[in-house]
Symmetry: C2
Amino acid sequence: MRKTSLNDIAQQLGVSKTLVSLVLNGKAKEHRISDEICRKVIDLAKELNYHPNQIAKGLRTGKTNTIGLIIAEIANPFFGKLGREIEREASRHGYRIIFCSSDEKAENAKQQIEMLLQGQVDGFIISPPNGSEEPIKLLERRKIPYVLIDRYFPEIESNYVVVDNFQASYEGTEYMINNNCKRIACISINAGLVNMDSRLDGYKKALSDASCKIDEDLIKILPFSHEINDVMKAIRELTTNKKNNIDAILFTTSKVGVMGLQCLHSLNLKIPDDIAVVSFDDPDAYKISQPPITAIAQPLEEIGRQSVKVLLGAIHNKKGKMMLHQIMLKTKFVIRDSSKK
Amino acid sequence: MRKTSLNDIAQQLGVSKTLVSLVLNGKAKEHRISDEICRKVIDLAKELNYHPNQIAKGLRTGKTNTIGLIIAEIANPFFGKLGREIEREASRHGYRIIFCSSDEKAENAKQQIEMLLQGQVDGFIISPPNGSEEPIKLLERRKIPYVLIDRYFPEIESNYVVVDNFQASYEGTEYMINNNCKRIACISINAGLVNMDSRLDGYKKALSDASCKIDEDLIKILPFSHEINDVMKAIRELTTNKKNNIDAILFTTSKVGVMGLQCLHSLNLKIPDDIAVVSFDDPDAYKISQPPITAIAQPLEEIGRQSVKVLLGAIHNKKGKMMLHQIMLKTKFVIRDSSKK
DNA sequence: CTGAAAGCGCTTACAG
DNA sequence: CTGAAAGCGCTTACAG
């Protein structure tokens, strides 16, 4: 049972492929094709269960209706949920998603971008790892539509959709200060990426605005690829050294946060009495945690929606003036029991 | 900056496209093409940063090096992690992944399969929703390589990679029985799907083998698309009705389990003292839960690996005899504090 | 109102 | 050892 092609329909009807193509693409009117033939073509197409070969169409038109999504890790719930939203919005517009997990490695992202550049996607949504400026610039040079999410490179003028990390972090830190936390530590990752740096800056600014000392010993930056023992080491250093004397932690990602909670539990530290906790992101785990964890929730649906919208705008507008869309969304501060002293 | 094509290389070198294609596809030897030309072609290709257009290649060869992955929900951590493993293994073999979330709706899966059937993928890995026999049979008729994961249809002779749900469920239930649980409830979903039915059967068999009564009132089956209030309703019914008198719950998925834990907490029921808990799957949330949740962990890496392997086997073997691969893997029972009475 | 023809960028018999 | 040609399944000027 071979797939039916345009030609099959044309031959059975004794008309040209041109005609069939025109009709099936809804261009019958503008070419004033007779209603009778129109109907015949449409009926037969349905009968033969005709679906145009997208590959052939893609080769001819240069459009694939496919978006390349490059994120850190689809297994990371943050990106999983974001991916779902992106898929949902893309699907509304007839686009499919090819996804690649970069593991936050620039080399991976580079290879993945180059691979998908080979005529397979109409554009990219990318959460660029540290050091991946080069492949992004390549997209720029080649005039491939793309939009960055979660972070961006200040030195590259590109479309992006991010959240206001500085403000979010400021708010979370300020809340802890107002809840009588005196020595607030911060465990973060990925130094150098603009989103993470902003989170750190927001934390510092909140402290200094409240006339709290910024103690570099209370700031732990983990390597890009961190595992639970990295988090454990950081927490041990923070909690065993008496002079640190911490009573709260801000986790700047849920991946770190989830691991951090495991560590705190295994060290028998009580939340929030011993250590108050606020974390970026809002995975399921935070809702069922005892106590539930105060979260800085990102508007995943909105990020997904906007990034697809901006990308499709760029795809359809390729020839027109490239308008830059740089969108910064608000996070939502979800207060739960982990941050109450 | 247009992409360089085969023709560009051929023209600059004054040779034919044939030659260039042959060389770049590593068929120089078997066509005894001179080393000198070989080198020239390869060097120029590198210099021009040539990458073959996969779409054109796909049209010609009928191969896209792309796998269609249809799962319930990429935002569901179980499928997210599984997706990651599938991506990893596929990537090792030079394959990309287009993913679609069916939301467990047969109609969605059908549309997604039909869409990707239009020449876009070489094969499918599918977690088929209830009632999606028809599109699966379509693949069968069209001789499209595919492999089912997580569940299968007993009446369709297909490749699949699943876990031994009966045994897993039996083991979890048996463990609770041996831990002095007398009245073990089961909250499940998706009646009719073979994996869920097996989980229920395993639960029942363990009870009857231990001479415990199977009380249908203790079995709650939620609709396909369940939200937390469905779970809440079930748990309320189980716990408020005195004659139910339950002291343990088996959750047959982590999605239900995570919601269930939220409900138990909000009802102020203590785990494991009031209610012991065992759940299928092992999301992060179970590790940081207090107490940590006893889990029936699925071998995600193995499922991912095997499903890709089986699929690629089928793709490469298309003409050969279709050997059926039906793989059933063992789960891992991870005992934690939630199930100790 | 309709069709013949070119071409998207490849691969692959076929011929020499 | 190398090349001309056909063709994958479409779309789209162009011509009438």
